[in-house]
Structures are given as C-alpha cells and as structure tokens.
C-alpha cells in the first residue's frame, strides 16, 4: 500500500508544552484526511511538520515517500500549503502574489502570467486581481491564499482550518472547490474544528486532542461509534424511567444513560425520534421533554475521552418537542 502521507510517532515540544505527543496517521493517495481537534490540539503543529516548516523532536513522516526532514526539498516540490492565517503579501495585488510564486517556482514570465490568470478566474478573483490584497475581504484573502498554494499544481494539499472565519456561503463555496480538487486527484490533509466540515469533506477522520490521536476512522464509523445526535427523554412520572430506558435502549444503537430525571442516548438515525414517541405513546407514558440535538464537538471529545457528558448546557440546535 502506498500512502501519500504517513506520520509515525510524531513528537514536537515547545518548551514545556507538548504539542504533538506521538501522532500516527496515514493518508491514502487521492483521499481527504480530516484532522479534527479543538484549540491547541496540535493540528497546526502537525501540518507544519508535514510541510517541512518544523522538525519533529521524535518520530518521522514521509510525504510521497520522501522524508520530511532528510528530503525536505523534494517534499516541498509535492505540497501546497494553505496555513491557518492567510499568508499573502498585502501590499501586492492578488495577481502579483500569484506571479511571484510562479516565478519562484521557476516558471517563465508568460507561464506564470497564464497560471495567475487561470487561478484568479477559478477562484472568482478576476475583477479584484489587480487590486492590492489589503483591500480584500477575509473570504477573498482566503481564496487567494488557497490559489497561491495551487500555483505549482501540487499533488498534496494541506489546508489548515480553511473555512474558519468564512460566512456560510463562502464556506460551502470553498467546500465545492476542495471537492473539485480532490476529484482531480489531489490528496488533501484538512484540519478543522468542525465535525460537520470533516463529515462533509473527509474520507477519513483522525481526532486529536492534547497532541494525541484519540479516535480515527471514516466519518460513518466515527458517527456509529459516537452517535451524531443525542436523544434526551424525560417522562412526567419518574417511575416510568426504567420503561423509557428500555425503549430508548432498544431503538437507539447504544445503551442509554440515566441521569437524574432524564434518559439520554447517542443516536445516528433521526427516525429514532418518532419511533420512540410512538412506542412510549402506546405505552401511555407522558413526556415533559423530548429532544434531539446535534452532538457538539465538545460532546464528541467528552465521549471519546470517556468523561461524562456535560449536562449544564443545551445547544441552540436543540429541537424541543413535548
């Protein structure tokens, strides 16, 4: 099996902080790996190691078969990097930014111009192409930054939180773009804090926290393992709790939790909700609360790290029925 990207036991420390604490993962050629984790998990550090900007303190990594430390120059010929913060020269125009990279890569003036025009067009920046980047909106900067990482037609693309700070429309546009790159055969390593983004784009997901991989698998596997939504049911009569628990346990794929007055369970299939309602109705159980809410990333982490789910907050995506 030929892995496009392989990280083995990566360790990186900054003073007393251990940003990466033995991270392993692989990315198959032509697929998207979503590196999912909260703030400070080590996502950017992993990307920086894989793009030769940082040397790992231990472990090693190969990209396209080349070692990121020993063969850094070769790795750089394969990759395109879109960092967490747009890395474009604000005092130049969008076109000049792209031209600069083309020329640095050794293309002729004419080739560089052609590629710049092509990319500006592809990213909807033709009209803004001759304006200084400091006049661009956040979304335009992001797009230019992505375009800049594509000048060389890289076969591996690193995207570090590419949609953070974008409005929903710009976000879906970027998703479409990423998908079209992938269908063109590009291997993508994508970091994100959003479960739905990883779900929408990634073939495989690696969840990291505190510099360690805490889960990995396809989006479906992870969802099956975690439940993408949480069902929460509260009967009016406390004595009905065991009955509610058994019904929920039967219909949901996971054993329910009993906490205080409520029965909660992770569910993947939204159809569970009406099924539960019907069954409990038939049994004459009156409910004071019935809710299905999306698991937030926090809950995913909580369930992954085995700590009890936090009860105090209910998210805005909550759907209340009673």
């Amino acid at each position: 099996m030929n892995h496009a990207i392989r990280a083995e036991g990566l360790v990186k420390r900054f003073g007393t902080t251990t940003a990466l604490d033995g991270v392993d993962f692989t990315v198959d050629a032509g697929t998207v790996l979503g590196l999912l984790g909260p703030n400070g998990a080590g996502k950017t550090t992993a990307v920086r190691v894989l793009s030769t900007l940082l040397h790992p303190d231990a472990g090693h990594a190969t990209v396209g078969g080349y070692d990121v430390v020993r063969d850094a120059h070769r790795v750089r010929q394969l990759i395109g990097l879109t960092g967490q913060y747009a890395a474009v020269d604000e005092s130049l125009t969008g076109r000049e930014n792209l031209l600069l990279i083309g020329r640095l890569l050794g293309s002729s003036r004419a080739q560089s111009r052609h590629r710049a025009r092509e990319l500006l067009d592809q990213f909807g920046l033709t009209d803004a192409g001759d304006r200084a980047v400091k006049t661009y909106s956040g979304g335009m900067r992001r797009r230019l930054d992505l375009a800049a990482s594509l000048v060389a037609h890289p076969s591996m693309l690193y995207l570090d939180e590419p949609t953070t700070g974008l409005d929903p429309r710009a976000r879906t546009e970027l998703w479409t773009l990423i998908r079209s790159l992938v269908s063109g055969g590009v291997t993508v390593l994508l970091t994100t804090q959003y479960l739905d983004e990883a779900d929408a784009l990634a073939d495989d997901i690696v969840v990291i926290d505190h510099g360690r991989v805490i889960a990995s698998g396809t989006p479906d596997e992870l969802k099956a393992k975690l439940g993408s939504q949480t069902l929460s049911v509260r009967p009016e009569d406390e004595t009905h709790l065991p009955l509610v628990a058994s019904v929920v346990g039967e219909l949901a794929d996971h054993a329910p939790d009993l906490d205080g007055q409520r029965v909660t369970a992770p569910v993947t299939d939204p159809a569970v909700l009406p099924a539960v309602v019907r069954r409990l109705d038939d049994s004459g159980v009156v409910l004071t609360e019935l809710a299905l809410r999306n698991s937030s990333l926090d809950e995913v982490f909580l369930s992954l790290t085995g700590r009890p789910a936090d009860e105090t907050e209910q998210t805005s995506t909550e759907r209340m029925l009673s």
């Binding site: 030769t52 900007l53 070769r74 990759i79 890395a87 130049l92 125009t93 600069l100 020329r103 050794g106």
Partner: protein
C-alpha cells in the same frame, strides 16, 4: 509496527536540492517583489526621502553657522556623514520587511516552497541595496544643489558609494536580528531608532571631534560610524585615506561575523 516503506513515485526523480543559480534567480524574484511593494506604496519612498532632505536642510542652515562660522563649510563637512547616517536608517527596512513577512505568515509560505533557504533573506537584502543606492543619490543630490562639491573626482565618489554599500550590507545583518527579535514591524522601527540615534549622534558626523570633551572624543573616535564618515569625507572631499577605509572594512567584516550567525541562531528559535 511493520516498516512499510512508501516508495517515492516512479518517473524522473525530483531534484534533491536547489542549485545556487536557481537560488540566485529566486533571490532576484523576491527582490523584485520588494521593488513592486515600493511602487505600490510610494509614500514608503517618501519615508526615507523626506526625512534626509529635511535633515540636510535643517543641519546646514540651523547649525552650520554656529558650528563652523558659515553654512557652506559646514555642508562640506557634514554631508558625507549624513549619507552614512541615512544609510544606517534605511537598512532598518530589511528588518521591518522581514518582520512583516514573519508576522503575516508570508515567510512560512516561502519556506514551504522548493526555494533556496537563503533566498528570502538574500532577496530582501538585495532589494535593500537598491533603496540604499537611491537614498545615497538623493542625499548627495540635495547636497549638490545646495553647493556641496566633490573634491576628489568620479573615482573618489564611486569608491565612497561602494564602501557605503559594503558597510550597508554588513549592517543589514544587525537589522535582520532586530527584525527577528521584534514582535511586530512597528517595534522594529522603534528598537532600531532607539539604537541608531545615539550611535549616529555620538559620532563625528555633525561636529568636529576636537570640540568635544576628552572622554567623549575617545568614544566618538572608536565609533564605526565616525570611521565610516571619515572614510567617506576622504573619498568625496579631502582625498582618500587608507586608514579609515581599512578600518571600515574590518568593522564590516566583524559585524558580519557576529551578526550573520547570530541571526541564523535567532531565526531557528523564532520559527
């Protein structure tokens, strides 16, 4: 874990390193970028154009008479040193540009490209030499309009410019270190100015060293800025003197020897 070796792709092997020639071309491209930046922000050119013109005018007419009896003699005395002072201030732009690239992430992008490791820095310094040449011509031009006369001829003038550029190149490393240490571009200017004002004023640029108290004379004469000012005066006005020229070159070599490795070290710690 089994050692599955991922074989590099078939086909022509990718080159393992950048050739020096490619590195040079990349440096030129990055220098071009700095020149384009100036073209987009002509006020930046004003930054290092207006101030030296103002300084020449102020010193010549405000202090010239008081220091030397008449402003014409003072202009002849002070102008070569003014060129030196301006050169030092312009070299701060290397540090400022470098710091901007670091804080804006442009440096990361450049380092993720298959580009010679030294090209971003070399490109900066190269572009800075263009700014240096411009500022030297500007200060000399203003001087010539006011009545400054080259006493030595073209060879002397070119010699002076060459010496100034050599020293500027060496001093760029100091600016690089400041650029790497400062948290943001504004701070590069602040730190740089704070260091450069005493360095240039405690020198013989503006006043003849004999007018100073004895203890200060000693300090002023060892200041490399005085030595370079002396060398420039010689080359432009009174006739070249080997002493200060050689001393300037030794200083340039010493500064490079200390600050080039230092900047490499600071760089490793910063990124």
């Amino acid at each position: 874990m089994t050692t599955l070796t991922d074989t590099p792709p078939a086909g022509p092997a990718l080159p393992a390193r950048v050739s020096p020639l490619q590195g040079m071309r990349q440096s030129m491209t990055l220098a071009w970028r700095t020149v384009v930046q100036v073209r987009h922000n002509p006020w930046e050119l004003g930054d290092f154009s207006i101030q030296p013109i103002m300084f020449v005018l102020l010193f010549t007419f405000m202090f010239g008479g008081a220091i030397m009896g008449d402003w014409q003699s003072y202009l002849t005395f002070m102008l070569p040193g003014m060129v030196v002072m301006n050169m030092l201030f312009v070299s701060l732009y290397v540090g400022q540009g470098l710091n901007t690239d670091l804080t804006k992430g442009v440096f990361d992008r450049l380092r993720s490209l298959p580009v010679a490791r030294w090209a971003p820095l070399a490109g900066r310094i190269l572009a800075d030499q263009v700014k240096q040449a411009w500022s030297i011509v500007l200060v000399l031009g203003v001087g010539l309009i006011l009545g400054f006369r080259i006493g030595t001829g073209l060879a002397g003038l070119l010699g002076a410019v060459a010496l100034l550029l050599v020293f500027a190149l060496a001093f760029s490393w100091v600016a690089v270190v400041v650029g790497l240490l400062a948290p943001d571009p504004e701070r590069v200017q602040i730190y740089g100015m704070t260091a450069l004002f005493p360095l240039t004023f405690v020198s013989n640029i503006f006043v003849p060293v004999q007018t100073l108290p004895g203890w200060l004379q000693g300090l002023v004469s060892v200041n490399p800025v005085s030595i370079l000012a002396d060398a420039s005066r010689g080359l432009m006005v009174t006739g070249a003197q080997a002493g200060p020229i050689i001393a300037t070159l030794i200083w340039a070599a010493a500064i490079t020897t200390v600050f080039a490795p230092l900047s490499a070290w600071v760089f490793k710690r910063r990124v």
